[in-house]
């Protein structure tokens, strides 16, 4: 099976134009980008995909060993990039995919022209002199949260989808709930994400980098965003007028504007 099939890759926009590769974070799937990515289709090749285990990806491609660390996910991203033969890629990675993008760009810098790190965190756990925001006990609690919410997984009752008269495109596409996945994979992805420590990778980034930071982000607080900015050579940080951890949903216009400004002027 090709990487395109494994990851339910969706390509739109202008063929041959600079590719923007949107990578979703822990929890949901490529639908996270649906208020942002379409705005780039008039000028760019727009690529979205699901990480293995999420959305419409091929669950059988999930490999507990390969996907035990973010490096495995970065290799998945590179497989997509190589298969589509993308060059000069600007990778827009949300949440854990910000770090996955960092690792991918370090592995094959020639493929990438820039990184947009949306609410990144290289290390979620507090450490000696470093504040990630969480303790190991917090992550255990998250795993319990996942368990409690996946009780009904096997019976797979798709929740009723509320009508969205102003966004009719949603109803037809979101058949099953896009934020659900196999509970075992969700647990493992949570471990790979929240127990990761990729701080050492940040100084090795060689492409222009933009950090997008929200206010009141309980997962990646401002201090963490500033840490990433300071550690990645030449990185800039833009503080979005948005709260929470998902500005691609809560403030899609501001997110779109910041990404557009970066690809138009920030790539040098």
């Amino acid at each position: 099976m090709s990487a395109v099939d494994r990851h339910a890759v969706h390509v739109s926009g202008v063929p041959g134009a600079r590719p923007l590769l949107f990578a979703h974070g822990f929890g949901c799937d490529q639908h996270m980008w649906r208020y942002v990515a379409p705005h780039f289709e008039d000028r760019f090749t727009v690529v979205t995909f699901d990480h293995v285990g999420a959305g419409a990806s091929d669950l059988s491609a999930y490999d507990p060993a390969r996907h035990a660390s973010l490096e495995g996910y970065a290799q998945d991203v590179l497989a997509i990039v190589r298969e589509l033969d993308l060059r000069d890629v600007v990778l827009v990675g949300h949440s854990v995919s910000a770090m996955i993008g960092v690792l991918a760009s370090i592995a094959e810098p020639d493929r990438f022209a820039g990184l947009v790190l949306v609410c990144p965190s290289p290390r979620y756990l507090d450490d000696d002199g470093y504040t990630g925001g969480f303790t190991r006990a917090d992550i255990c609690e998250l795993l319990e949260s996942l368990d409690s919410n996946y009780l009904g997984w096997s019976s797979a009752i798709a929740p009723a989808i509320m009508g969205n008269p102003d966004r009719p495109e949603l109803g037809a596409e979101l058949t099953a709930s896009f934020c659900r996945t196999d509970p075992d994979i969700a647990r493992r992805f949570a471990r790979a994400t929240f127990l990761s420590d990729d701080r050492a990778a940040l100084p090795r980034v060689t492409v222009p980098t933009l950090v997008l930071q929200c206010t009141h982000d309980v997962i990646a607080p401002l201090a963490v965003g500033e840490y990433v900015r300071d550690a990645v050579p030449g990185a800039r940080l833009v503080l979005l007028d948005a709260t929470g951890h998902c500005p691609n949903l809560s403030a899609p216009e501001a997110t779109t504007a910041a990404v557009a400004a970066f690809v138009d002027e920030g790539l040098g």
């Binding site: 929890g27 949260s145 929740p159």
Partner: protein, 402 residues
């Protein structure tokens, strides 16, 4: 691109527009919260305050809903709950814990809807909160039971695989002058110990036994009988030269054993005298082995005999054949010939003989070819175990001195 951000007061006021006054009642049967789209609490009912011990003035305008959750719940809120709400307009039956004023955790189930303005922009999130203390306790017991069940299933699977490995030698031994190959493929997903077994062992210099059998049924009891059969054959082959006597001993042991299971087996004793290999073959309720000879069509060899472990005084028959250079004996279980195609038709003897005829090279080639052909025939979904053992005489073995 720029966005007009509304002022705080404007946002709070918009979120306050409320069409569910009954939920504000202190005697409402569920907790109720209204928040701005960013989660700032603008309204909370008495039931929620009574359950959590929070004071209204500490919450309204001051705290966001996510602030009331413990750290793990906050991550879940941000990565699952909030995106679902934004993309689907509603989230239902989400299991969370609320941190109460005294630090206690209240397990709750939460339903939320996202209200939008006429122009489609989010206006407010309205949330009903249900006390789920008892339910959560029960669910945790269920989860623990589920984990225990999964653990024991995994242990059983590992045990089955270990057992299987002790019953089936992974690679046949090296026999000077003979070329021996074997394959074994358990039916289905390999979770159950199969009943097929084979063994190739030495009795004396230039004196070997190849045995292949099939115990009726699967699982632990079949595995016990499989082990019994294998070790009985090993012991009996030391006392009895004739394969028919080895099978008679096995039959006797099975009938005396505390089991209803029977088995089939084919046994070949391979002896080299003056540089020439001879095989003596006996069968008990088992398909006859095939004899492949250079320049000739493959044929069955031996005489049929009764099932083992059933009849009071069964009679087995020995058949002698001389094996020249390039000759091969192919022992197989009925998982090969009784493999079924898409329309239920049997794989059968003719297909098997054709594969053997077509593969006149090393033992491993013909053995692997049989497995591949019968698996393809069954669309890779074998309903029975498949075992094949091929014993071929080396091209030069028959002519050299022993």
């Amino acid at each position: 691109m720029s966005v007009r951000r509304r002022g705080h007061a404007e946002v709070v006021h918009a979120a306050l527009v409320d069409d569910a006054p009954e939920l504000r009642d202190d005697r409402a049967p569920c907790g109720y919260l209204a928040t701005t789209p960013d989660g700032v609490i603008v309204q909370v009912n008495g039931t929620f305050l009574a359950w959590t011990g929070h004071r209204r003035e500490d919450l309204v305008g001051r705290r966001r809903f996510v602030d009331l959750l413990p750290a793990g719940g906050r991550i879940y809120h941000e990565t699952h709950y909030s995106p679902t709400l934004r993309l689907q307009g509603a989230a239902r039956e989400v299991a969370l814990e609320i941190v109460c004023a005294d630090g206690r955790r209240l397990p709750v189930l939460v339903n939320s809807v996202l209200d939008r303005d006429d122009d489609g922009s989010p206006r407010a999130i309205r949330t009903a909160v249900f006390d789920a203390t008892e339910r959560r306790r029960y669910e945790q017991e269920l989860l623990a039971a589920k984990r225990r069940a999964e653990d024991s299933e995994e242990r059983a699977l590992r045990l089955a695989q270990t057992l299987q490995q002790t019953l089936i030698p992974p690679t046949p031994p090296h026999v000077p002058g003979l070329d021996v190959a074997a394959v074994y493929r358990p039916a289905g997903d390999g979770r159950h110990v199969g009943g097929d077994f084979y063994d190739v062992f030495q009795v004396a210099p230039d004196d070997w036994v190849a045995v292949l059998g099939d115990v009726q049924g699967k699982g632990a009891e079949a595995a016990v009988v499989t082990a019994l059969a294998r070790y009985t054959v090993r012991a009996a082959a030391v006392d009895h030269e004739a394969p028919r006597d080895v099978l008679a001993t096995l039959d006797d042991v099975l009938r005396r054993a505390d089991t209803d299971r029977f088995c089939t087996a084919v046994l070949a004793r391979l002896r080299r005298t003056h540089g020439t290999w001879r095989a003596t073959v006996a069968c008990g309720g088992h398909p006859l082995p095939l004899l492949r000879r250079p320049g000739r069509r493959t044929v069955g060899v031996g005489a049929h005999g009764p099932l083992l472990g059933i009849l009071p005084a069964p009679v087995f028959t020995d058949t002698d054949v001389t094996l020249g250079p390039g000759d091969a004996l192919v022992l197989f279980t009925d998982g090969v010939t009784e493999g079924r195609g898409r329309r239920g038709e049997l794989y059968g003897d003719d297909r098997l003989r054709a594969v053997v005829d077509d593969h006149r090279g090393p033992a491993a080639d013909v053995t692997e070819a049989i497995l591949a052909d019968v698996m393809t025939y069954q669309a890779d979904d074998a309903r029975d175990d498949i075992a094949v053992v091929t014993v071929a005489v080396d091209g030069t073995a028959g002519t050299g001195p022993s």
